[in-house]
């Protein structure tokens, strides 16, 4: 026993231990404080529309007219809510089959080529700034829709298409991981019974990875729901519920970014925008909970 077990000798380590503990604790404290402050701030601003300005919650959620400067001022946010949901869900509907099939190709059909070239390319899509997506959408998709379909080309369809490309990497990456994590024995077992590759994908791979695929789709919808710039550039920003996919519409995010510079802090119109932000934030929480729930179910 050459080493001393003395308390004195151990002291530097004790100090290290405490410094580390306190430092990490401070970091997490800072994070939590920030998150709570943001939630509190948005909530207090957003709720003051109802508490201070006495706007009815139901009217805001179901009203069809958004006239902050009108006489009387009307705050019907339904067109925005509708726009947000329709663009993001439509985008997910477009991106989900594409992302899943791309993942199947990369994992099941051509793993070497897929892993080496396709995966990085798809991940690259995630790094393109949203203003670039919006710009491309505005100069390619909108004119194309204008030529092919009746209307101005702007609207839900253009917004959803741009968003679908933006959320494709999320969905593809999660689907690829889920497929790659599938136990090899399951597929072999299916092949050994005389199933074809497609029967195996359809009957074993798809049902087994479904919760993980749904997680990817919900995360995609969450991203699409919160995306502002790219959508705003191609959707037209008319504050009403469109009658077709190719008619100008708005989303919660585009309504906020367009009007926030034109309202004075504390005014009713400004508070109403905060209410929209509150709706956005609450919806994001809902998506996060859905993802948590699905992840819990995907464990076999």
């Amino acid at each position: 026993m050459s080493q001393s077990l003395d308390r004195q000798k151990a002291k530097p380590h004790l100090a290290e231990e405490w410094v580390g503990k306190i430092y990490t604790f401070l970091c997490i404290l800072f994070l939590i404080t920030t998150i709570f402050s943001i939630v509190y701030f948005v909530a207090s601003k957003g709720l003051s529309t109802f508490i201070v300005n006495h706007v009815n919650v139901i009217d805001l959620l179901t009203g069809l007219k958004w006239l902050p400067d009108g006489e009387p001022a009307l705050f019907g946010a339904l067109p925005f809510i509708f726009g947000s949901f329709s663009t993001s869900i439509l985008a997910a509907c477009l991106a989900a089959p594409l992302g899943f099939c791309a993942a199947v190709f990369m994992v099941e059909i051509s793993p070497k080529f897929g892993r080496k070239y396709l995966q990085p390319v798809i991940e690259l899509l995630a790094g393109i700034p949203s203003v670039v997506y919006g710009f491309v959408g505005l100069s390619v998709i909108v004119p194309f829709f204008r030529d092919v379909f009746p209307g101005q080309g702007i609207g839900i369809a253009a917004g959803a298409l741009v968003l679908s490309i933006m959320i494709l990497p999320t969905i593809t990456t999660i689907a690829t991981d889920a497929l790659a994590a599938l136990p090899k024995g399951l597929k072999e077992g299916s092949y050994a019974l005389g199933s074809t590759r497609w029967q195996t994908i359809y009957r074993i791979v798809l049902p087994t990875t479904l919760p993980a695929l749904m997680t990817g789709i919900v995360l995609g919808i969450a991203r699409a729901f919160g995306e502002a710039l790219a959508v705003q550039m191609v959707i037209g920003n008319a504050p009403h519920i469109p009658r077709s996919l190719f008619e100008s519409a708005s989303t919660l995010t585009s309504a906020i970014t367009l009007s926030m510079g034109n309202t004075a802090m504390g005014s009713l119109a400004n508070n109403a925008l905060w209410s929209l932000a509150l709706i956005l934030m609450l919806m994001t929480f809902v998506f996060v909970f859905i993802v948590r729930f699905l992840e819990g179910r995907s464990k076999l």
Binding site: P183, G185, L186, E188, G189, S190, Y191, A192, L193, G194, S195, T196, Q199, R203, I204, P207, T208, L300
Partner: protein
């Protein structure tokens, strides 16, 4: 005994690696044939040529002939799915699908177009009875296949393979992940099944081969060193290497 599988001058390569060398062999019908030998000697590889599971490994090349019931299974006219329906396989790790016990058994028949509920019920019951599992699971067929024990799962996988009515059942170290009691059950089961099916099993366990098989094949470095009736091979091997292996001098 009639032979059902005939192998003529079979060579198999994984890329550059020569995994099976000039294999010649006949496997008798309605009997148990055991493949023994040290790890990496090619016994699983040969087993997997019988249902063409090696096809899925990129870079596999085959020369020579494997005939099952007179058909060259590597000819272009052979439909792999039909072949696999006739040559069932049970793997080292129990691999039930994440479905109910019932749906696991019905998976194969459904693949091959059986949708009639009554017919499926019947197949599920006969297959589970054949695999000696019916009594243990008949009251909870709707439960997940993961809810039963590992040994039961392996018998479920045997039942699943039997449900498509194969002629041959391949068992790739099917008991090596199981406890001794489950292993014994599967060995007993194999004994019962050999009257109706041709069974080929790969095993790490020489005693298992001696206990259950009628014919034993000894592999070494991709070559078939010796094959004969099990009793003969264990009591009176003709090759020195076989004798060394079974007397425990290596492997």
């Amino acid at each position: 005994m009639n032979s059902i599988i005939e192998i003529n001058d079979l060579d198999l390569f994984y890329g550059e690696f020569h995994a099976l060398k000039h294999v010649n062999m006949e496997i008798p019908e309605k009997a148990i044939t055991a493949f023994i030998g040290p790890s990496g000697c090619g016994k699983s590889t040969l087993l997997r040529t019988f249902n063409r599971m090696n096809d899925m490994i990129a870079g596999t090349r085959i020369e020579g002939k494997v005939e099952i019931a007179g058909t060259d299974i590597y000819s272009n006219e052979v439909d792999v799915e039909t072949l696999r329906k006739r040559v069932g396989m049970v793997f080292q790790q129990p691999n039930p699908f994440p479905k109910s016990i019932y749906d696991n058994i019905a998976y194969g028949p459904r693949l091959h177009g059986i949708t009639d509920r009554k017919k499926l019920d019947e197949i599920v019951e006969t297959s589970l009875r054949s695999a000696a599992l019916w009594g243990e699971v008949k009251d909870h067929l709707k439960r997940s296949a993961f809810s039963i024990s590992g040994g039961q799962q392996q018998r479920l996988c045997i039942a699943r393979a039997l449900a498509v009515e194969p002629d041959i059942l391949l068992m790739d170290e099917a008991t090596s992940a199981l406890d001794p009691i489950s292993t014994l059950k599967i060995e007993e089961l194999a004994q019962e099944l050999k009257d109706r099916y041709t069974i080929v099993m790969v095993t790490h366990n020489m005693h298992q081969a001696a206990r259950v098989s009628q014919q034993t094949v000894f592999f070494l470095n991709g070559e078939v060193v010796e094959y004969s009736e099990t009793e003969q091979l264990f009591s009176n091997p003709t090759d020195q290497r076989t004798e060394d292996y079974i007397s425990g001098r290596f492997g």
